[in-house]
Symmetry: C2
Subunit: 222 residues, 2 copies
DNA sequence: GGAATCAAAATTATCTATAATTTGAAAAGG
DNA sequence: CCTTTTCAAATTATAGATAATTTTGATTCC
């Protein structure tokens, strides 16, 4: 204990910046200035530039050749795009994971659902939701597929936070329970069907907050 | 004319290395040494490291924290994984692209198919095949989805080249023609169904070449 | 003869410095 | 008063240099 080895500085910066972008601390369009970030992380800008390439590949940042890097912006069309990609890929993953799902895994997923229902804020709900999806999909054992899904989850979470950053209402996740029930009874295709619709359910934010521009306020909720 | 602006050195290096990996010039597991590559491209190693991050995100290279970067290796399981991901995502793209397909686009796609049938070697065939898929999918207008599909195509091409690097037999692509026919008649779902199976068709390489290890020799052919 | 050890060489990861480009604002001109 | 031009400050992109880690290869020991 004491000091975490933290494999490489670039990866640490990339993770931290990704978190900030997803949480909305860094607004869409905001410039990411390498020298400032380098100073904050007590490094030079070389690792920072490497982190930028990672964020670019994740779709969280956009780099214009000699003009710097900005936080990627998004619109309703992209929210839908991400939702549909998730639907397609998560269904694929679940189809392969189904045969490897154990009662223990399904119990853990049920527990994650309970935690989501009891979540006090968006942040906690998102964490529980992501854990649910990870739990039932990871057993597919397809690393490339899982990595893609993770990136899409990050994008989803970004949209989610941007819509619900102020208000948040508790609710019970019936879809998750229906999916688990179907999986427990070995009805894989039915579970896939529910998952496919569940991920594409797009919610409308309660109301436009006092943020000046009446930005589109939609978000994936699955 | 004269000198290409070539946006950034890092992107040029990344493209060139990706090409070499896909073509099989750089074997799986081969080490990518930043100083050597920097010297070859007449630059320092900073842009080289940025290019590495890009290749890593594409799944073409693997970086181990203080041990350098290697060309990613792959096995039959990953070939299948990539094929299934392509099937899922290309079908999604085609579903959205269908309404925007014009006769002109379909004619161009038919021309690409003809060129593929007439191709003298794997390389030419792969180029024509990729053009076909791009032509009918691009009109979906979903940039994130198209970028993912492009990366998967690169992986597919890598497997393809690795299997057919020596022998290559001409053949007629009936699937492409059936897809175009269905699209021309407005039967989108049927076109999607054919595309889904087409992309997942996995061929067996003619014979293991004299390459020492009897590596698995399979490849996607679609 | 083969495994373990240790030092030299190669290589990675990072930092500091330099060149080139862009941005933004002030000044000049219509 | 608005547009265009000019110039300085800020920022990006790359180069060169340094520290630290891993490989490699020869040598010794069993």
């Amino acid at each position: 204990m004491g000091k975490e080895p933290e494999d490489t500085i670039a990866s640490r910066i990339s993770r931290e910046l990704a978190d900030r972008i997803v949480r909305g601390e860094l607004a869409p369009g905001a410039r990411l200035r390498q020298d400032h970030i380098a100073e904050e992380f007590q490094t030079s800008h070389v690792p920072v530039r490497e982190a930028f390439r990672r964020l670019e590949a994740q779709g969280l940042a956009i780099s214009e050749p000699r003009r710097g890097v900005r936080v990627a912006s998004f619109d309703l069309a992209e929210v839908r795009e991400v939702a549909e990609m998730r639907a397609a890929l998560e269904v694929l993953a679940l189809r392969h994971a189904a045969r490897h799902l154990t009662p223990a895994i399904l119990d853990a997923a049920e527990e994650a659902t309970r935690e989501g229902d009891a979540a006090a804020d968006v942040r906690a709900w998102e964490e529980a939701n992501r854990r649910f999806h990870r739990l039932i999909l990871t057993p597919c054992g397809m690393s490339r597929l899982l990595a893609s899904i993770d990136d899409l989850h990050a994008a989803s979470a970004r949209f989610l936070f941007s819509a619900w950053q102020s208000g948040w209402e508790k609710r019970t996740d019936h879809d998750h329970r229906a999916i688990l029930l179907a999986l427990r009874q070995g009805r894989t295709e039915e579970a896939c069907g529910i998952l496919e619709k569940h991920v594409q359910w797009i919610g409308r934010a309660p109301q436009g907050v006092k943020s000046g521009a009446p930005r589109e306020a939609f978000a994936i909720v699955g």
